[in-house]
């Protein structure tokens, strides 16, 4: 069996290393550099996110942040409505905020990987000279944050069902719609995330803010926590040009069913149309991410920025 890192064959490997090792041993993976790079990077990302932290602290951090984030909205809502959490708008705000965790994580995941490799671990030069597919490696590094984000979404939704009686039931969830839209949504967001990461390769300052800033913009313009109709009409179109808007709408419909009907930003679109739009976004963004990556990489190499340590 393939061993990850320098772990001896006889030593007991952690579960994640075991899984990664088994995947790397699959014939279809063994001959594909891009798949090998992707899987190894995903495993590395998971190690960085979880194992290199105290497990207790990591668990608290994974739970406290999303719960606190959604509780801010709950308190804001309750102060104004005297705690009318049974209203459909509450379910809209709550589920939107819970699902948005994934948007933030996926969008910022790759740019953080670039910053980490270059500024923190200073392995950028080695990564670019190693016989790996760096493009696949970056996608792989984003996977760990996707996993952490998915767990946070799940915890937040379960918390909402238990504490605020959110109208979500396993039997009424439209699973095919949820699965398809989430798959497409995550892929399109990953494309955006990789573009952010690629642009980060060329930035000396403010690179910390890029992913966060884009995630913040999506929070505002995608109708995550309020119906898009609330936005001034002059900027509402931005929301319609973002994949996150369509994914959030589809996921809300899948989770809340008829309860989502009162606040459908895109009520005129059928579920099929939502998924088609998402599919188009996914293809365009994934293809664009490859071009943006190649262009950024060439420029970063040209300008000698590829392993730049700014300590900014």
């Amino acid at each position: 069996m393939t061993s990850i890192g320098n772990t001896p064959e006889t030593a007991r490997l952690p579960l994640t290393a075991e899984i990664a090792g088994r995947l790397l041993d699959l014939p279809v993976v063994r001959d594909k550099k891009s798949l090998r790079s992707f899987i190894t990077a995903a495993w590395l990302g998971w190690q960085i996110e979880s194992n290199w932290a105290d497990p207790f602290l990591f668990a608290i951090y994974s739970i406290a942040r999303p719960i606190a984030s959604v509780l801010i909205l709950v308190v804001m809502y309750s102060v104004i409505t005297n705690g009318a959490t049974d209203q459909p708008i509450f379910a809209y705000i709550y589920t939107g905020n819970a699902l948005y965790i994934l948007v933030g994580m996926v969008i910022t995941g790759v740019s953080w990987a670039v910053i980490d490799d270059r500024e923190h671990y200073r392995t950028s030069a080695q990564l670019h000279t190693a016989p790996i597919s760096h493009f696949s490696y970056l996608y792989g590094r984003g996977v760990a944050r996707l996993v952490v984000g998915s767990v946070s979404v799940l915890i937040t939704l379960v918390f909402g069902v238990i504490v605020f009686d959110l109208p979500i039931q396993l039997s009424t969830i439209d699973w095919p719609l949820l699965g398809l839209s989430t798959g497409l949504g995550v892929l399109s967001l990953a494309g955006m995330g990789l573009m952010m990461g690629s642009l980060t390769m060329m930035m000396a300052r403010h690179f910390w803010s890029l992913g966060e800033a884009v995630a913040g913009s999506l929070y505002l313009f995608s109708g995550a926590i309020f119906p898009l109709e609330t936005l001034p009409s002059a900027v509402r179109w931005i929301g319609f040009a973002l994949p996150a808007t369509y994914w959030l709408e589809a996921a809300r419909r899948a989770l809340l069913g008829p309860d989502a009907a009162g606040f459908q930003t895109l009520a005129h679109l059928t579920n099929g149309q939502l998924n088609t739009i998402l599919a188009v976004f996914t293809v365009v963004l994934l293809a664009s991410s490859l071009y943006v990556y190649r262009w950024s990489l060439a420029r970063a190499k040209e300008k000698g920025l590829i392993d730049m340590e700014t300590t900014y």
Partner: protein
Amino acid sequence: MTASHAPDAVVERAVSVTTRPRASVMTEPAAKLDGARLFWVTMWARAYPRMVGAYRERSWMVFDTILPLLGVAAYVFVYRAIDAPQDYIGFVIVGGAMTAFWLNVLWGMASQLYWDKDAGNLELYIASPGPLMAILLGMAVGGLVMTGTRATAIIVLGSWLFDVNYSAGSLVLLVVTFAATMAALYGMGMLFASVFLAAGREAWHLSNMLQEPVYLASGFYFPVKALGVAVATFVSVIPLTLGLDAMRQLLFTDDPNLGFLPVATELAIITVLAAVFLVAAYYMLDRLEQRGRRNGRLTERRR
């Protein structure tokens, strides 16, 4: 004088006043500084890169002004979606501006010594004659100036875009409250710097963990009173909780029942917090340095 030159002038003046005329710098041996003068010069020397660095690249105008406003605007539209009174929009704008300071304390103060260790600067700090406390204070001063731009932009742009009206009861009291809150907040940041340095790699997760939970606990986007007396009392140890509450009471005087405690009481507590945090930061830093020297692991980068 342009914005990018202003910090240079401040630092140059601070250094020249405390040492000797500038013309003699190149010809005479450096004067040996000690005591308060050394502290003063060290502090400005550490503040300098923070004050200047942020403005060297023009993109700060976008990254530090427009983009932070987008996240704040999302909360404004939530209040609009549920037909909240206009004052609540103002609460969000003021709270949103204060998030800039909290983020700066977490990422630019608390985590900084850990990053300095990582970059190899910590051993230079310790080897230099400059006191570590002055370096921490310089980080705070530089961070305060840098973050002040971002906070001002959020207040000015946000108030203009969302038509927020303020009715300042006492401008002097408002300025004093803000200054005391910043002293306590950055004192807390200086204390955290030592704690996070001791935490090693966990510093990253600690900073992350203290972000949204503190936004919630300190009532960044709603009056902290809404959390109930017990919770509000408990979280008053975070200087921004009472600072923000007092500033809101002074800026939005329409609702006399808005505040958690009277402004004078909150100001007194914040002042005490500032003193406690600064003293605690001094002792914590000293203890950490002594322990690190004994163990020989203070600048070890593996942790």
